[in-house]
Subunit: 213 residues, 2 copies
Amino acid sequence: MGRKRKCQNELVAESDREFVLTSAARLFREQGFDHTSVKEISEACNMLPGSLYYRYPSKESLLVDLMRLALEQASTALLKAFQEVTDPAEQIRRAINAHLGLLVGGSDMVYVLLFEWRSLRGAERQEMIDLRDRYEALWDSKLRSLSELGLIRPDIDLSLLRLIGIGALNWTATWFRKDGYYSSEDIGDFVWRLIRDSIINQPLIIKDTNGLS
Amino acid sequence: MGRKRKCQNELVAESDREFVLTSAARLFREQGFDHTSVKEISEACNMLPGSLYYRYPSKESLLVDLMRLALEQASTALLKAFQEVTDPAEQIRRAINAHLGLLVGGSDMVYVLLFEWRSLRGAERQEMIDLRDRYEALWDSKLRSLSELGLIRPDIDLSLLRLIGIGALNWTATWFRKDGYYSSEDIGDFVWRLIRDSIINQPLIIKDTNGLS
DNA sequence: GTCTATACTCTGATAGAC
DNA sequence: GTCTATCAGAGTATAGAC
């Protein structure tokens, strides 16, 4: 088997993995992990249960692999938001909207990563926690650099800010409706303004004074 | 059977109900609804499965009744916070801390109300949603009255404020640890300051000017 | 109101042919 | 790598005695 052929197989295997995990994620989001049977998952992948057990040794291990892919998606979207612009405030605003967009509309996997942690135990639960920590560390890193630039009020606890901010975004997924009154952007910008008005370290600017202050 | 006797029975029945639901709530919080068997619940109540089915026609119906009691607890705590003081800002600060305290330390039932909604379907899911809406309506009512008093910036969307604020508090329950770095009060006051600095409609006060502004 | 005993279903997982 | 066939176990719920 030549090198090129091997590479092709790896690509096929990778897209196979994504197909399985994407199908499973939709079911898990709609019905919950516990209320989705292996039979349903395999049907959604056009397989039979036995074939799934060739790929994953257990239902839980499939969930863990799904969460790994979800972390990659979330991290990629976050870093993209940071890299698109140079203005720190705009970076945060875009990151908030990227997180929220992925969660409520873009990726069932990210939703599952955030809401199905209770289905895992022991070592698998710990791996899930580690995945989330790695994602939140990206936020922490950005917040620390903004703080070092003097852009955040020094009395703000950065870890609490991250926990509360991400929490506000995450909970949105429990009530958000695609056909509801608020769009993902409405919500993201609201959160952004809430945080901005409270934490940004800058000369106070009185609204509607046309810069005459 | 005399009236007094009947009244006693009702009290016993009520405390029986609370005992069953409190025991179940602890299990549901620790293991999740789906990973708690009827056998475990009945054991925690010093009963056998058959006896539980005398009280509730199904496992789900027990969960719904538990959520009804949780709503009562949360509403009572919230109204108490509103009534303890007259200063509107302090009312909100206390309400935030009451919600958070109940959620992370005071009541397993409130935790279950907020995190086990995915275990219910159809009419029972809808009843759970109605319960939550009734609780959030208490917040809405208070926020509207503050707004009418001119204490909240008129450009703030009160519904979004409620959704995002409660969301930030609720998500806390996913990472809070009793022996962790932050106390419930640390977190509640942080959220309160975040909101206060962003929404309160008042003359801007420059920090550390000793009132000379 | 609680107990004993059990029916019935569903599901995660396995063995082995192809 | 997928299929067929099936097992073993768990879990909800019920019937009926006490």
